[in-house]
């Protein structure tokens, strides 16, 4: 109990060690080890949730130990309302992704070992409270991803893997520079809670080469995180990586890795550089708009189903950006509209979670049909609803959740992002509502082409979605629907943390700090 | 006449002749003879300094040593010359330039 966060992080490593001792031919045992490991991890995460005090809004379950005392680096962990949803989502998706990767046919041992390493990295990022540790986990995540795409991916896997790796590495490096900048200017500490308190004051007025240090650090961090989100001009690694990655890895990529961008911005940029939030939020809303429209337009034109889903991720993360930009509504300059800020920020966090479940569902379903047909050409199917009614039904749930239909959680979060951003960015929000329409257009047209019409003769013996695959989709569908009907359990977790964050941003920041 | 300079002068001439022979003669045996001259020039010096420097007989003893040494050296050197002759069919030192390689 006391070290529950450490257990969450290091459990997969235990799993790796176990897997390394299993002979490579015993594939079933290897898989079961992965199942058990992620399963226990999921149970731990749920237990954490049950013990979590959502009334606090500050870090809980804190663990702190010296690591490299000479430069003030600690092994420091903690969880708050911002990270808890992701700490639950990550093991959940990992657990499901193990089942999704059941049919991996080569180098099973290596695959699952790397997969568990990836799991450690991901959950570590969400739990780290030391900037250095954060960075380390951030990088730990990168490497297994590179191999997982590069070795188990599609035909262009090497290209995709190297592109993913280099692209995200650029982001990491920029982040590292910013981390060092913060470290040197804010009392030589990497401790995130301390930095939240000291950074806004320590940095104000500091100039580097004639530019405000706040702006420079913000930009560095923003680009680092924006690549992960991905925000518009940094987005092209995503469709490629998604298309080439094996299904389970796409699920993880969309479900967890993309969230790191938003999470990082909210965890690092917002509280530490509140002045820059005001400075940058206009641009952020604009980028959100571009993401929404650009992603939707690109998705509309796709013929590859997986690429369509990938572009839809870009589209969906645009809503989250809009919601994040809304935080400045609570600033005094904007009349202190607390409601809008709450709606926007909570909407962004909720959207991040929902996108995790919905796009994971979409990728799993794409994987199902790909396993059977060995292609993903939208126009190459037709009439599958007749042959695979259950699959068509699951896809309908996923697609409609994706296009933001009320009753699914995606709607609630999109709605909150919009309604939060509206008071401050009216024109941008109004234009981006077109995204709702385009969203529906690309999902429905894809659905029609795949499932409606006469059954394609080639697929008249296509087997229906099987139990294992259903098992991976149904939990996600249930979560999506439950939170869509009644979002309060989720919002209750985050609301106090969000209030804290809004307070931090609006009280510490303003336009004057430069 | 009985002065040190005269001895030294003669020894110098002798040394120079020896050196001349060592440097310029091509015949290996002649070079050896030059070396003998140099050694004997040294002997003269040793004896001369012993005689005029009041150093008992150590100079003379040393000169004897040199003579013995010169004999030994001549024996070894002639053996080498014979070997060179066997290998090169010549005792012309210009042709024995393997050191150059």
């Amino acid at each position: 109990m006391e070290y529950i966060l450490s257990w969450l992080i290091w459990l997969p490593v235990v799993g790796i060690v176990v897997i390394l001792f299993i002979p490579r031919e015993r594939e079933y045992i290897i898989k079961m080890t992965a199942v058990v490991t992620t399963g226990i991890q999921l149970a731990l995460a749920l237990f954490l949730w049950s013990k979590f005090d959502s009334g606090l809004g500050t870090f809980q379950f804190i663990e702190k130990a010296e690591w490299i005392p000479s430069i003030n680096i600690f092994y420091s962990l903690g969880v708050d309302g911002l990270s808890l949803p992701m700490v639950i989502l990550t093991p959940l998706l990992s657990f499901l992704a193990v089942f999704v990767s059941w049919n991996i046919d080569r180098a099973v041992k290596g695959y699952f070992a790397l997969f568990l390493l990836l799991d450690t990295g991901m959950i570590g990022v969400f739990l780290a409270l030391d900037f250095f540790l954060f960075y380390v986990f951030w990088e730990v995540m990168l490497l297994p991803m590179y191999f997982l795409i590069g070795m188990w991916g599609g035909p262009q896997r090497e290209y995709a893997a190297i592109k993913f790796f280099l692209y995200t590495l650029v982001g990491s490096v920029l982040m590292l520079v910013a981390v060092i900048g913060l470290y040197l200017n804010c009392g030589k500490t990497f401790d995130i809670p301390t930095l939240m308190e000291t950074a806004p004051n320590a940095l104000s007025g500091v100039m580097w080469w004639g530019f405000s240090a706040i702006k420079i650090i913000w930009i560095l961090l923003f680009i680092g995180f924006a690549i992960k989100v991905p925000v518009f001009p940094f987005h092209t690694w995503l469709p490629l990586a998604h298309v080439e990655a094996p299904t389970a890895i796409s699920v993880i990529l969309a479900g967890v890795l993309l969230k790191l961008g938003v999470y990082g911005l909210l965890r690092i940029n917002y509280p530490m550089l509140p002045d820059a939030v005001f400075w940058f939020s206009g641009a952020m809303a604009l980028l959100g708009l571009i993401n929404v429209i650009w992603g939707a337009m690109c998705a509309l034109a796709q013929t590859d189903l997986k690429k369509l889903v990938a572009y839809s991720s870009i589209n969906h993360m645009g809503y989250a950006l809009l919601g994040m930009a809304a935080v400045i509504a609570a600033g005094a300059v904007n009349g202190g509209n607390q409601a809008a800020a709450q709606a926007g920020l909570s909407g962004a966090v909720f959207q991040m979670f929902n996108h995790g479940t919905i796009s994971a569902m979409l990728f799993i379903l794409v994987g199902v049909v790909y396993d059977r047909a060995h292609h993903r050409d939208i126009d190459g199917f037709g009439g599958l609803a007749k042959q695979m009614p259950l699959y068509a039904g699951m896809c309908m749930i996923a697609f409609f959740a994706g296009l933001g239909l009320p009753g699914f959680s995606g709607f609630v979060s999109e709605f909150m992002c919009f309604i939060g951003a509206f008071p401050v960015f009216k024109v941008i929000v109004i234009i981006s509502t077109i995204g709702i329409l385009l969203n529906a257009a690309y999902f429905l047209s894809a659905y029609k082409r795949i499932f409606f019409g006469e059954l394609n003769e080639k697929y008249k013996d296509m087997p229906e979605i099987n139990r294992r695959e259903l098992l991976t989709v149904i939990p996600l569908a249930v979560i999506t629907i439950l939170f869509g009907i009644y979002p309060r359990p989720f919002l209750d977790i985050i609301s106090n943390t969000i209030d804290h964050l809004i307070y931090q941003v609006t009280q510490m920041g303003g336009y004057a700090g430069f | 006449m009985d002065q040190l300079q005269n001895y030294l002068f003669i020894a110098a001439i002798l040394f120079s002749l020896g050196l001349m022979a060592v440097i310029t003669r091509r015949n290996g045996v002649a070079v050896l003879m030059g070396i003998e001259l140099i050694l004997n020039a040294a002997n003269i010096n040793l004896v001369a300094f012993a005689r005029f420097g009041g150093m008992n007989y150590s100079g003379q003893i040393f000169a004897l040593f040199v003579i013995v040494l010169a004999a030994a050296e001549a024996a070894v050197a002639l053996a080498i010359v014979i070997n060179i002759f066997n290998n090169y069919s010549s005792i012309n030192v210009d042709e024995v330039s393997q050191l150059k390689q």
Binding site: L300, Q342, S346, F422, L437, K448, G453, I498 | -
Partner: protein, 681 residues
Amino acid sequence: MNIFIQFALIIYFLPLAAFVINIMFGKRLPRQGDWVSIGAVGISLILSVTMFAGMLLDYNPDFKVEAFWRWIHLGAFNIDLGFLIDNITITMLLVVALVSTMTHIFSIKYMEGDPLYYRYYAFLSLFTFSMNGIVLANNLMLLYMSWELVGLSSFLLIGFWFEKDSASTAANKAFLTNRVGDIGFFIGIMIIFMYIGSVSYGDVFNGVASGELTGTLLTIAGIGLFMGAMGKSSQVPLHIWLPDAMEGPTPVSALMHAATMVAAGVFMMVRLFPIMSPDALVFVAYIGGVTAIFASVIAVTQNDIKKVLAYSTVSQLGYMIMAVGTGAYIAAFFHLVTHAAFKANLFYGSGSVIHAMHHALHKKHDDETDPQDMRNMGGLKEKMPITHRAMFISTLAIAGVPLFSGFLSKDAILAGTLSFAVHHPVHFLLPVFGFGAALITAFYMFRLIFMTFYNEPQKPELIDDIHESPWEMATPLVILSGLSFFIFFTLPYFNPFSDHGWFTDIIHARDSLVAGTPTAHEIAEGIHHSHFPAMLLSLFVAGGGIFLAWQMYLKKSWSPDSVSEKYKTLYLLSYNKFYIDEIYSRYVYTPVLKLADRIAFFDWEIYDKYFINGFGRVTNWLAKLTGKVDYEGIDQGVVDSFGRNTRRAGKMLRSLQTGKLQTYMLFALVGVIFIMIFQVV
């Protein structure tokens, strides 16, 4: 908890439960689970009737019950969802439950043998659930959510026969067109929430009344909300989806695309009328008026029986919307209710005819002939007496013939427009649209009746196989025909020329909350004054329309062909639906898709390949350059040159090293001499 709220909760959630049960287990249930859905909707009907009876017993125009639950709670940002039950709600609930029940019963035979029978009933239940959400909502949020869910069930049911390409296309079109409207709706909600901070009707009304949201913004918000209604109630220019929606099964058309779902827009406008600014209302009125006349003109030349009814529905919805715009919104609601009964009835009638035609054609193994084309019908009167009578009665109602419900409601609307034009002579076009549409409606409806049931059969070989539909299908026809008579709406009074009755007694108009609008009383006065001329005029135009149809299609004194020949342009415009679909396709869909293609191409082929990969390429090039500098410059040039120069120096010095001891000796000598010279010097 109030008994009404409890009833409402049951009415609301029972169909949802039926949906879940049927979609999951329907296939394995006996009779494929149709009884689950029918039972759910039946209980809804019973409860609705009970509530309705309660309302009539109470006879209180101000009756109102509200209940809400917190849905989102973030401190400053809170949203409550809840129910508002007043007389309008109860009436509408009854309409929905009744038509829904009729549809469920009608579908038993109509959909018999369909492989996805259970799913059909599941979807019907889903629809009933969502529609009740619209009716019961006490806030814009639940309204919007139910609004979209109705769109979903409409999508599912239009595309029910998804193997037909036209059906799935129509389903997509319906959903997407509705989404266009929903965007406006959403923007409206955002504006309202921003200024008023709540979405519940009560707070919004209070906010508008206290001037928290006024002027142009209120107008924009109003028009935004109305856009939602335009989408759902298929107003020009978003009307394109409704005619195509006829691809769905006919009972669905009756339920959703005639009686209830498309009326949701009107219902919403009725609910939100008090916050509509005068400018927004003028916009509403013109959209409605144009839709009314526009759609009726198209209906004249259509040959598909369902298409005629579809355009008729569009036109009638235009009427209602126009009435809302002119302030006669209770008249609009009245027409909604009467229209629901007779239009659903017309659709059931057409369904019955199509069913019969389909079976007859099936028997002849004729797959070519279109069972919905009126040119293939004719002379069905004797073969299908119940259907004929039912449709005839409903046609009289829609045409606005006295003694029938349509007369009363249409009259109220026309009086409203007339009164509006009297007060604002600028808007004289509105009554022109209204009366013009009334004329054309009477004409095309009788054209439909004459072409279908009268004259000689166009396909005599089929006539023997045409049979009246079974009782499951006939029952709704009978019940709804009955409801087309005026008496059900004017009780306890018996004056067929006045709409005075329970409806007008307990459903009262509210004053608009926006400054500068006439009060409900003033509007009622105006309507009262215009009542008589409007009635005369409407009688006149209805008679004219019927007469024309009688002349052309029954007596055949004028040949329709020669008329269409004479007015070729107009005929072609009407026949081709004013080319709206073509215009959209040319100027909207195609350019958007093309743009999407371009953007995707740019994104993937240019931006990514050249710009992003360009970084890689530049880095590569730089790497090569540094590699070159490193190897050829530093390694080869500097490091190795030490070696090279040493060797060169060695070579030079080597010439000194002759290998001759004598030379070395000489050097030694020279060296000694040098040293000596230096010693001396």
